[in-house]
Symmetry: C2
């Protein structure tokens, strides 16, 4: 049995649901997919592509915005088989413990968090995620969980990606700006990357879109020990209608998580988030921010794994109370149209400005559906749209043009 | 009176309609806007922004995809007042004749074609375009004509832009790849650019989206005579449902226009179009092509103006018969959804790959609404959507992945 089988909760289920195993119990060459009759026909028809998908994945990158951690030239994806094989053997024989390499601990942690988040979101929505799980033949793999046209979510994606690859010389030079320990005298370096990325677009225009991404990157010596390594990540909120109490609650929950690890983190990472998620050509932020960090190696890896775990643990408490208050609020057609225009801005940021998306799409044989999972199901562009003076829409724009401190 | 007033045809008109004068009769500092009660409320509310718009335009670029003609570093938009002033005086005193500088002849031609196209499209749709006309204080300006939520068109934009500016040294070096006559020993060169760009997104999924852009660029000596100059342009079709007879008619009409000027043009420009409008990360073309050319200076300017005029004249005969056959065809909800997914691909190309859009958005103080006028009113992204085997949707994808010769 190559994956854990969940018995379906829905009476309409035609296939048993599959979910990838925790990293400690994985087998290789898993490619599984399940769908449910409650899913829209467009999702069901996607199951026809399973063979093509498996082929594409075996040759390609399946990273989503995970790839923000690799700036500059594209990595090659020829596998450094020795390390990934050793990791696989260790997972099989010993499981993942506190003594395992950070690679395996991060992978194990994000797989557990993916499952927690997916299960919590399914309880809220009432519909199930479609799960695609795979491994790459020589190590690494991923799991995409996507829910489209749900009761609460227009589109929700929670993705894991794990990559073993080789960094070419140019990428090494580029990364040395932040990581002086990288050896620039070699032609290539083996690397490992693992990340969890998530975007939720609720249907109700009063309920905000939310995004998160937590990732770990390391380059490896020939014996599999890490040379350079770092953590990156962030969580940010994009409302169409701004409720100050929601913004305060969201930021406060993230700040509490940061403060448990470093008193400077929240302030620095809040600013970094405002700077990163900025739609330059519109002179406005994508949303009301949150936290964002990259190249983080200022503490022991153990401590930064704990910090990343804490950030991921803070997501459901930061977001679910907001969603719960907003998901069933009444709204007008005009408010839905405004949400669609804001979704258009989301598309603009992700396609024009997001470095992770650009990197992913430029990689050889990109898994485009995983990378563009972040895009909303629907979006709109109107010529010369401008909110009425004194309206809630105008107030949102004012805040997006002048980011605030919420806590 | 700073602009020609058209009496409104619609009984519900609240304001007289304004349309910019032909170049030969223009006055400076025109900023005019009209709207009609038949327009959707979102369009009407845009009229509130007229003051902000006028300010933005006076400082910015208003080019749309016109700007594909300026590769590399951004031009400065400080005005070379002498040439634009001289041009303005000449227009005022003598009008535009065959003896006028090519700048004025091109501007006059595209203004006339804009008006012809807008009037023809209004007859088809039954609704009126909203017209924004402006001049930049020291020369140049533009007219945006946009129709949203029409009877036939979901969104239609027909834009003129005229720019007098200064090319910085880096841009000169970049342009010298194609234009050896450019003087690379100077810090900057005065330039002129004028173009007409148009995108039509019909509502009916059986009716194809169409795009065109024709432009003229020149650099000027101190006495206002041209040093380097070239023409660029193209017309291309993007169906959601492919009717071979439409593709053949469209390409044949363009080929006839090309053949009247050079027997090699159609073949070369058809290939160039396929190469340019290619969505690399999807391994598919944006549409079924047409023609595309740039840096064209292989004949006398007189001949290339005639060629560009002929291409523009061929647009209505190439497109209207197709639109007429398709605009009222019955369609299913699934077919509308497929159109929305194809609109998503259109957005991907324009935001990720189109050099003109990128250039426009990176220019100082871009007029974003004019540049992104090309985006559809609505678009959609579904995770892992795949057409059914043997379906019309699958056949379209097959053609987009393997561009055909249609004539």
């Amino acid at each position: 049995m190559s994956s854990r089988i969940f018995s379906s909760r829905g009476s309409g289920a035609r296939l048993a649901r599959t979910f990838s195993k925790p990293a400690s119990q994985q087998q290789e060459h898993t490619v599984s997919r399940a769908f449910f009759t409650s899913a829209p026909s467009s999702v069901q028809s996607a199951s026809q592509t399973i063979t093509r998908l498996a082929l594409a994945i075996s040759a390609g990158l399946a990273a989503g915005s995970l790839v923000t951690l690799i700036p500059g030239p594209s990595p090659q994806l020829c596998e450094p088989a020795s390390t990934s094989e050793a990791d696989k053997a260790q997972k099989r024989e010993n499981g993942v413990t506190e003594n395992s390499p950070m690679r395996l601990r991060m992978e194990s942690m994000i797989r557990a968090k993916q499952q927690e988040i997916v299960e919590a979101l399914e309880k809220v929505d009432g519909k199930r995620f479609v799960v695609d799980a795979w491994e790459r033949p020589a190590g690494g793999g991923g799991t995409s969980c996507v829910l489209q046209n749900g009761n609460v979510f227009e589109k929700a994606g929670v993705n894991i990606s794990v990559v073993y690859g080789k960094l070419p010389h140019k990428a090494i030079l580029s990364m040395r700006a932040h990581h002086k320990s990288l050896n620039a005298s070699v032609d290539s370096i083996d690397f490992f990357a693992a990340g969890l990325s998530m975007v939720l677009h609720p249907k109700n225009p009063m309920a905000p879109t939310v995004h998160l991404n937590y990732r770990y990157f390391e380059t490896m010596n020939e014996d599999g020990t890490p040379s350079a390594w770092w953590f990156g990540g962030g969580t940010d909120l994009t409302p169409s209608y701004l409720f100050d109490e929601d913004a305060i609650h969201f930021h406060k929950t993230l700040k509490d998580a940061c403060d448990r690890h470093d008193p400077t983190y929240y302030h620095r990472f809040k600013k970094w988030c405002d700077d990163y998620f900025y739609i330059k050509h519109r002179n406005e932020s994508r949303g009301i921010g949150g936290i964002f960090f990259d190249d983080l190696d200022d503490k022991e890896p153990e401590q930064l794994l704990a910090f990343s775990t804490d950030c991921l643990n803070s997501f459901l408490p930061a977001y679910l109370p907001i969603l719960s208050k907003r998901k069933d609020m009444p709204f007008t057609l005009e408010e839905k149209e405004w949400q669609q225009l804001r979704r258009g801005r989301y598309v603009e940021f992700n396609l024009i400005h997001d470095r992770g998306t650009a990197f992913g799409l430029n990689a050889p044989n990109p898994r485009v559906d995983s990378i563009l999972m972040s895009l909303p199901l629907t979006a709109s562009w109107q010529y010369m749209h401008s909110p009425k003076a004194g309206s809630r829409e105008e107030r949102l724009l004012e805040v997006l043009k002048n980011p605030r401190d919420w806590v």
